[in-house]
Symmetry: C2
DNA sequence: TAATGTTTGAAACAGGCGTTTTATATGGAG
DNA sequence: CTCCATATAAAACGCCTGTTTCAAACATTA
């Protein structure tokens, strides 16, 4: 067998370690040690550590975008698309696609890391490779929330993106607290279901009359 | 003058660099070089890099918590406290307190970093030092949203925490986009004002009848 | 002024990092 | 079988990291 399972073993191990400790905090020696492959294998198969990080993301995002683009094809033809429908499609696609590979929570954590840390190459990579799909989505979202001023919608999208990524990315820690306090075994699907009404309500929140200024509200 | 401005110079520089590049990505040599102090000064004055990171946070959080605890004293005596009032107090305290020091956006970015990366010592530190204040706040929040099941409120708190921290922490990048697309010069105060109705609506979103499960919603 | 405790400065330390190199296997094609 | 491209292995490279050391400078108190 040419191209043995070395590549897959590296990807699996790197993915887990990145999610657990972050990118900079995870060394190639730790990865290759745990994956039981030679240290040089990463540079041989991927070229560099940066490229390995991108490969870890691509393994998740490529199948997701493929599927999500198909859904978008359908939705773009649908005339009376509602916000709930659009968000539900996004949620179900997110939940259903990566079931074959590792867990969704791992990927969400990676996404959160990519957003906050390593703002350089990773953000550029995500923008270049998946920006078009994101643009199609926001276009539909605009259609569903036509009463919203563009700037307001822009910020709300990022509020909700934050809610999702942030919660998911610290899911493990939060799940422990929730389990001990409310003896609830929250699976990621349950969390997505909890998010849906919240995000919908947030997007539909009343818009302040004029460019808001906090000091005026208190006076 | 004993205890010259070396400590302050280190804190200022470290704060800015941490916010810009992250904790692991910022070396003591970069900090001390830019601050024009000796390399050994960090270990002399703070003990270690970890302690320096915590000191950067403490400089923001200690005054904030002091002020916020005073507000909580007042609110806990107030009988008919509403969600809007509670959130407004939180928002105004957040905005008003750190005005003397560096900018609020820097601190928000630090908070986002602390939450996602360096999950070990930093999370423990924040919990130990500021957990009590956070607990007082959540207690009032429970009082304001009494119709919400505990578990639901728990998750919604973290959704909203995510929305705030996440947006603030990537504010610089987002502000550039917003400025070019909607020629809007968003200050952090405006953003907080935008957040208020969104967070309120999100907390008040309808609660699914039973422990939600996404698959059932689609079927 | 002399002595003392505190702060700086310059250099070195030990160790980890990503990456490269060189050599050795491995496995299928001519 | 021989050849050749591909893959693994072990070692070394140069660099950068946080931390420590020790002497010099400083400010403070007696």
């Amino acid at each position: 067998m040419a191209q043995s399972d070395t590549v897959v073993r590296i990807l699996d191990t790197a993915e887990a370690l990145f999610a657990e400790k972050g990118f900079a905090e995870t060394s190639l020696r730790t990865i290759t040690g745990k994956a039981k492959v030679n240290l040089a294998a990463v540079n041989y198969h991927f070229g560099s550590k940066k490229a390995l990080i991108q490969a870890v993301f691509a393994r998740y995002l490529d199948p997701f975008c493929e599927q999500f683009n198909r859904e978008l094809d359908r939705l773009e033809k649908q005339p009376g698309l509602t916000l709930e429908e659009l968000l539900t499609v996004l949620a179900t696609t997110t939940v259903s696609v990566p079931a074959s590979k590792g867990s969704l929570s791992v990927f969400m954590r990676l996404l959160g890391l990519a957003y906050t840390q390593a703002q350089g190459h990773m953000r550029r990579y995500l923008q270049e490779h998946y920006g078009k799909t994101f643009f199609r989505f926001t276009n539909l979202l605009k259609q569903c929330t036509s009463e919203l001023p563009d700037a307001e919608r822009f910020w709300r999208i990022h509020f909700m993106l934050g809610a999702v990524v942030f919660t998911m990315s610290s899911l493990d820690a939060l799940r422990d607290i929730a389990a001990s306090d409310y003896d609830e075994k929250t699976r990621i699907r349950d969390l997505v279901a909890r998010l849906l009404p919240v995000v919908t309500a947030a997007m539909n929140a009343p818009v302040p009359e004029q460019p808001p200024r906090l000091s005026e509200q208190v006076a």
